[in-house]
């Protein structure tokens, strides 16, 4: 295909003669990269064409190919390899070409700049990645904690042990959590159901903000959290890392490690990874938080191999968690709740330290089995298929009348089995269009034990999607267009909540779409505009919940007449990056038709067996969420950076007063309060590592060198004054400011097999031990948030 002869005119820009009329832009450059000294082929070198922004990675034999280059146009080809000096050459093509590149071996590893260009270009929605240092520092906590420093991302929590991410005001079934290409299928309908993800499995975590339904399916109305594992080892031998951490609040400890093994002389690679975590009662500034201990045990195993044009990966993960629910947050009735709310200190609190996890507690388990196969037809077309099985189980152990005799029996168990099959046909640029088409099929079975608040269901779903992306150098525009159709059928039956003899078939179907553009003002400055339609069928709990929700101390009733939510989300992002400063500002408006929310009509009380409970009813209204996320960082001298971030959001619904036809704006409940962060950061070597995915080198190694820095970051959250007209059970908490301190340093331990890098880190949360409560923490009714927490960690990587 590329066997025509090469024409190479190095550094000869002026040789370009003749008119550029009728220019052919479908030439391909095929190249072979070798080591200039040893003449050996260099696999996994990164090749990048500066002008087109396109890149490739050499295969095992040192070959690469870059399609869609224009004739008689000078291109700067950059080649990087970990072991070699950076190489740049200007080439011009008149026809399909084949070239040899010789790289000079060098030991100065520091000079190598590694770029990785994913096959899929970044979305036209706002996308932000968790900084590597923040990721390392927060891995010992939970997924929510790792995300909450990102502008536009907040947490919905039930105490410090249960936290779920909120993207631009929406959460749970309205965002997708995607780990290693698998959308988490768990029971996210409950406010006290945190995502079942071990952050230690991720090498990169990013958040896509905006309607992401085309990419991630029905439900991704507000965005997605995307976790990517480190690539499997491509070099023969064994490598890995071990990380240990300790936290003063709750006297918690965490250990996590991974080992990679690439079979010598074959393409087969394995990884085994595991995490263990244990912590006891947390402490607020003035008292212990009784029964807030947690334990976690997670495993994952991956294997990958290549054969010819095939590439396969198999993985299994197991997530297991057991955590206590604050004893003082367990209220049996409205009178208990009122007593607890009016008390300044937690009522029925166990005010001492203990590792014991007693009732009420929850046990959560999640398993994923994934198999993915990719087949490359040629340098352009790729077909991939992925199957995953997921099993999710939640057990809720409540306090009860005969809990002492009950042993290990849970009051409620929810189980969810999911099978998902994805097929995608994707292509690299053809006449400047890059994209693909795909289909997805999902099957789900949900089984709830007797008296389980929601009914059982069996669901079937199917989707088709297509998306294309246009980019042509040097046109400063990029365009994206995509569409998707999802179909979902649920068969709902009951096993014994209030909906006796329920047997219904429900069908939902809708179109999602996305339209986006990026304009590059310069290399440093771009604007992204995206508008998208996304939708979500009402979840079974919103339709049929009926009963006491013990975790929340409420009586909830679904509404079988609810329709699908439809969101129209538009956002504009300005992104500016230079060597001394960077800024990213996103403004958005998410207009949701038939937004589903829990409403508590004033004085609505249900006489439950445990006494009168406040009654909440699912209902829907049109709603609008709009806001601004911003982050700015400026370095006046190379070592010193000032950082600030802001998240501002307003969410209202179009409410109607009884008997009136006109609507008015009523603020939505549970919308994040405005949040500002500002900090100062001292970096010892004065050079910040690139955060845009540059951490990973082409052969899957992690960059050994960490940076040495100290950072002081303040977070101010204002009082949420935009609350529903009807008021709240407990008024929003006052504004507060907390301080965080972080530091990290890497040193090297010499060993027979070379230097072992050891990264140590310090992470102090709530440094000044401030008393505060978060508006989006359900436990704000009962207690203050935890006080000062000093975290120390050490991580050693081996086998590079």
């Amino acid at each position: 295909m590329f066997n025509s002869k090469a024409i190479l005119i190095g550094l000869c820009l002026l040789c370009a003669t003749g008119p550029l009329l009728a220019q052919d832009c479908h030439l391909a450059l095929r190249g072979h990269v070798t080591d200039a000294d040893t003449k050996e082929a260099l696999p996994y070198a990164t090749v990048f064409v500066r002008e087109t922004g396109k890149g490739a990675v050499t295969d095992e034999n040192g070959w690469f190919a870059i399609p869609d280059l224009c004739e008689r146009t000078p291109y700067t080809v950059e080649i990087h390899h970990v072991e070699c000096a950076h190489f740049t050459q200007v080439v011009q093509l008149t026809e399909n070409a084949e070239m040899e590149f010789h790289l000079v071996h060098t030991a100065i590893l520091n000079e190598v700049v590694i770029r990785e260009k994913a096959v899929a270009p970044p979305p036209t929605q706002a996308e932000i990645a968790v900084e590597q240092n923040d990721l390392e520092a927060a891995k010992g906590l939970n997924l929510g904690e790792t995300l909450k420093k990102l502008p536009g991302v907040t947490l919905l929590s039930s105490g410090a042990t249960i936290a779920k991410p909120v993207i631009q005001g929406l959460h749970s079934n309205r965002i997708a959590i995607v780990a290693d290409g698998v959308t988490l299928q768990s029971q996210q309908w409950g406010n006290d159901h945190a995502p079942e993800i071990d952050p230690f499995t991720a090498d990169k975590i990013s958040v896509v903000k905006g309607a992401a339904g085309v990419r991630y399916g029905a439900g991704a109305m507000a965005g997605a959290v995307v976790l990517e594992p480190a690539p499997l080892r491509e070099k023969d031998g064994i490598g890995g890392w071990l990380s240990l951490g300790g936290f003063s609040n709750g006297w918690g400890g965490v250990a996590s490690g991974a080992a990679d093994w690439h079979l010598p002389g074959r393409s087969l690679t394995f990884r085994l990874q595991g995490t263990a975590k244990r912590s006891g009662n947390l402490r607020a500034p003035d008292y212990w938080l009784g029964n807030t201990g947690a334990s976690e045990l997670n495993f994952s195993a991956m294997a990958g191999w290549k054969k010819g044009r095939w590439r396969h990966t198999v993985s299994v993960t197991q997530f297991g968690q057991r955590f206590g629910i604050l004893r003082a947050a367990h209220t049996g009735s409205l009178s208990d709740l009122e007593a607890a709310i009016s008390s300044d200190t937690p009522r029925n609190n166990l005010n001492y330290f203990s590792y014991k996890i007693d009732r009420p507690y929850q046990r959560v388990q999640h398993n994923v089995l994934k198999y993915k196969a990719e087949f490359r037809f040629n340098d352009i077309w790729k077909l991939s298929g992925q199957y995953n099985f997921q099993y999710n189980q939640r057990r809720e152990y409540d306090r009860g009348r005969n809990n002492t005799t009950q042993g290990d029996k849970a009051q409620v168990a929810f189980q969810l089995w999911s099978n998902t099959l994805d097929l995608a046909l994707e292509h690299l640029p053809i006449r400047h269009w890059q994209g693909g088409v795909g289909v997805q099929a999902v099957q789900q079975l949900n089984y709830v034990s007797k008296g389980g608040y929601i009914p059982d269901y069996l669901g079937w779903g199917g989707s088709v999607w297509a998306t294309e992306r246009w980019r042509r150098f040097p046109v400063p525009w990029e365009f994206e267009i995509g569409a998707r159709y999802d179909f979902r059928r649920n068969h709902v039956t009951t096993t014994g909540n209030g909906n006796n003899d329920l047997d219904e078939q429900l069908t939902f179907g809708n179109v999602s779409g996305t339209l986006g553009a990026i304009y590059h003002f310069s290399n440093d400055f771009s604007a992204k505009l995206n508008t998208g339609l996304a939708w979500r069928p009402p979840h079974v709990n919103e339709l049929f919940a009926r009963g006491v929700h013990h975790g929340a101390g409420t009586y909830e009733q679904g509404n079988p007449d609810l329709e699908s939510e439809k969101a129209w989300n538009s956002n504009l992002t300005l992104d500016w990056k230079t060597s001394f400063a960077s800024a990213m500002v996103t403004v958005y408006r998410n207009s949701v038709q038939d937004f589903i929310y829990l409403n508590q009509p004033r004085d609505s009380i249900v006489l439950t067996v445990r006494g009168p409970f406040p009654a909440y009813f699912y209902q829907q209204d049109d709603a609008v969420l709009q806001g601004l996320d911003a982050s700015v960082s400026v370095s006046f001298i190379p070592q010193l950076a000032l950082e600030t971030r802001a998240s501002i959001l307003r969410g209202y619904r179009l409410a109607r007063r009884n008997g009136e036809n006109s609507t008015y704006h009523d603020w939505l409940p549970l919308m994040p309060a405005d949040r500002f962060q500002y900090g100062i950061r001292w970096t010892v070597d004065g050079r910040r590592r690139k955060v845009d995915g540059g951490r990973r080198s082409a052969d899957g190694e992690r960059e050994a060198e960490g940076e040495t820095f100290v950072r002081l970051l303040a977070t101010t959250v204002v009082r949420q004054s935009h609350i529903p007209e009807e008021g709240l059970t407990k008024a929003p908490p006052p504004a507060f400011t907390t301080l965080g301190l972080e530091a990290a340093h890497t040193f090297y331990l010499s060993s027979p097999s070379g230097d072992l890098p050891i990264e140590i880190g310090l992470n102090v949360q709530n440094l000044t031990n401030v008393r505060y409560r978060e508006y989006l923490d359900f436990f704000r009714f009962y207690t203050d948030s935890p006080g000062v927490n000093v975290g120390l960690r050490a991580k050693v990587s081996f086998g590079h």
């Binding site: 299994v316 398993n367 168990a413 006491v548």
Partner: protein, 177 residues
């Protein structure tokens, strides 16, 4: 198209091992126990010359946690009653269980409006109030309510707010005739 042959026996081993891990990790699904109180019976027996003997049943037969029926306690005036509370979990009487754990339980009675007094609560093993048995005294004809609670693990059985958690709470209308 995707059921490609696995070329490496050790991969099969890994797969087998990981699937074993996967399913051994799913513990056998032990039955859950939703301890639902589905019925509370107030049994009033008149003392002295009264021949009054009636049971009043508050019921939640569908088990959704909401009382479906709460009857009115229509009782004669100027009478003294011995009162016993029966508690049912899915139509199985569990009074014995509660009595066995009397130290951890407390029945409370709160009368509003009606001319009725509740006293002589039965005691637990430590001599503290328990209250599954009590004595009610009605006076002149009147109407009101009586709230009966079963509190689990009260912190102080003698306090006005005993703490603990409510196992059941039912408020009966009272009609003294």
């Amino acid at each position: 198209m995707f059921n490609t042959k696995l070329h490496f026996p050790n991969l099969l081993l890994l797969l087998a091992a990981s699937i074993t891990l996967l399913f051994s990790a799913c513990k056998k699904d032990e039955a859950t126990e939703q301890e639902l109180i589905t019925k509370v019976v107030v049994h009033l027996t008149g003392t002295g010359s009264s021949l009054f003997n009636e049971e009043f049943e508050a019921e939640d037969p569908d088990g959704d946690g909401v009382w479906n029926t709460i009857p009115s306690l229509d009782i004669p005036a100027n009478t003294v009653f011995d009162v016993h509370i029966h508690v049912y979990d899915s139509n199985e009487e569990i009074d014995d269980e509660i009595e066995a754990e009397s130290n951890e339980h407390l029945f409370t009675y709160k009368v509003t409006g009606a001319n009725l007094t509740v006293g002589d609560l039965s005691t637990d093993d430590n001599g503290a109030p328990f209250g599954i048995d009590s004595r009610w005294t009605s006076a002149a004809a009147s109407a009101g309510t009586v709230r009966i609670q079963l509190i689990h693990e009260p912190i102080d059985k003698n306090a006005a707010d005993p703490g603990g958690e409510v196992d059941f709470e039912v408020t009966f209308p009272v009609q003294i005739q």
